[in-house]
Symmetry: C2
Subunit: 221 residues, 2 copies
């Protein structure tokens, strides 16, 4: 596997929904990697509290401020508020790389399952709602537990990156590579994002069966 | 990762659609592992020709004969003929473990994409058509090229195994483990088979971008 890796070390990262476990975990790892990180929430106070709990240089603000300030914006909000939150940030997110890591899942007593999404996937919904942004799907399979664990120095997994804009997917792959142990792997166009999102349900089943924090590695790269 | 692995060394394996690359490749590897292997096709002559091309002890016969004789039957037929072929074999497949490895994919100039399946997935369609069989989804991501390559002794990947019958998924996991380098990993219920099938489209994109024969490994197991 060889690609020209863009220098992303100076990119600032905003995380919408950064008060959740996945968002806080990504904030923590990107801050450790030296990035300026902004956690966004509907409530600036809750965002600031989350930022303080993560520590380091991470700052918190309301979603519009984070969307406007950050170079690259990660969407880590709950699926329930996905469409409406993104619709409200259309102008702030225009022209930016928007990284959707939302998994539309349902849960019942048999575990997790993939929800049907009108647009095909959360990432495609983001692209439909944000026609002026450069939407990339990534970071679906990263365990929030591992991201937050101070004992874990390397998180050995591949981040599957799907999108239609080559420069944007290259950038997101490079960002994934900023977290020790992670590698960003291009995994197809946005129309093939659904199964990457939905596979999180399988990883949840794997975690339950084997008492693991499972991720994926792509072989032969 | 620890589970009690059933002894599957004496199980005979039938492969419907065994004249295709995936089917022939699996036939070859299971024969090398010491299994009795039967290749099935609509035409007994074509099945016999495929069996001869694979060599070893592999035999060929028409689909009904293979379905009736083999202990475990792998479905490796093209998606086009999936439903009708299985419908025609309902009685022969009753009571058996049926392993569906079919990927319902479309192709255009942008590459591969997942097709919508009325039942949710090929494996769920098999379960709907074969109510008296024990349907398991597995072997979707195994490269036919690697399976057929005489230079390749180990195929390092995890076979994601989905199904609702624990004894059946255990058996199929153990069968996957008979091929050097492979490991069978339980990956959830049949309702979560779609994304495993569809992810083959992403692997095709990965193969194209990186000139690879990509597979998956599950980390932390």
């Amino acid at each position: 596997m060889s690609t020209d890796i863009p220098d992303v070390s100076k990119i600032s990262i905003g995380i919408l929904g950064g008060t959740g476990d996945q968002g806080k975990g990504l904030a923590r790892r990107f801050a450790l990697a030296g990035h300026t990180v902004l956690i966004g929430s509907r409530s600036a106070e809750r965002a600031q509290a989350a930022a303080e709990s993560v520590g380091g240089s991470v700052r918190g603000a309301d979603n519009p401020t984070v969307a406007a300030e950050a170079d690259v914006v990660i969407v880590a909000i709950p699926w329930d508020g996905h469409r409406s939150t993104l619709e409200s940030l259309r102008s702030e997110l225009a022209g930016k790389i928007v990284v959707d890591c939302v998994n539309p899942l349902g849960f019942d007593k048999q575990g997790a399952y993939a929800l049907a999404v009108e647009e095909g996937s959360a990432a495609q919904q983001a692209a439909a709602v944000l026609p002026d942004s450069r939407v990339v799907a990534a970071f679906h399979h990263v365990s929030a537990v591992l991201l937050m664990d101070p004992e874990v120095e390397e998180i050995t997994l591949d981040v599957l990156v799907a999108g239609d804009d080559r420069e944007a997917t290259d950038t997101v792959q490079a960002l994934a590579g900023r977290i020790p142990g992670m590698r960003g792997v291009y995994a197809g166009r946005l129309r093939n994002a659904h199964q990457v999102e939905a596979l999180t349900a399988n990883l949840i089943s794997i975690n339950r069966r084997y008492k693991a924090h499972a991720g994926l590695r792509v072989t032969d790269l």
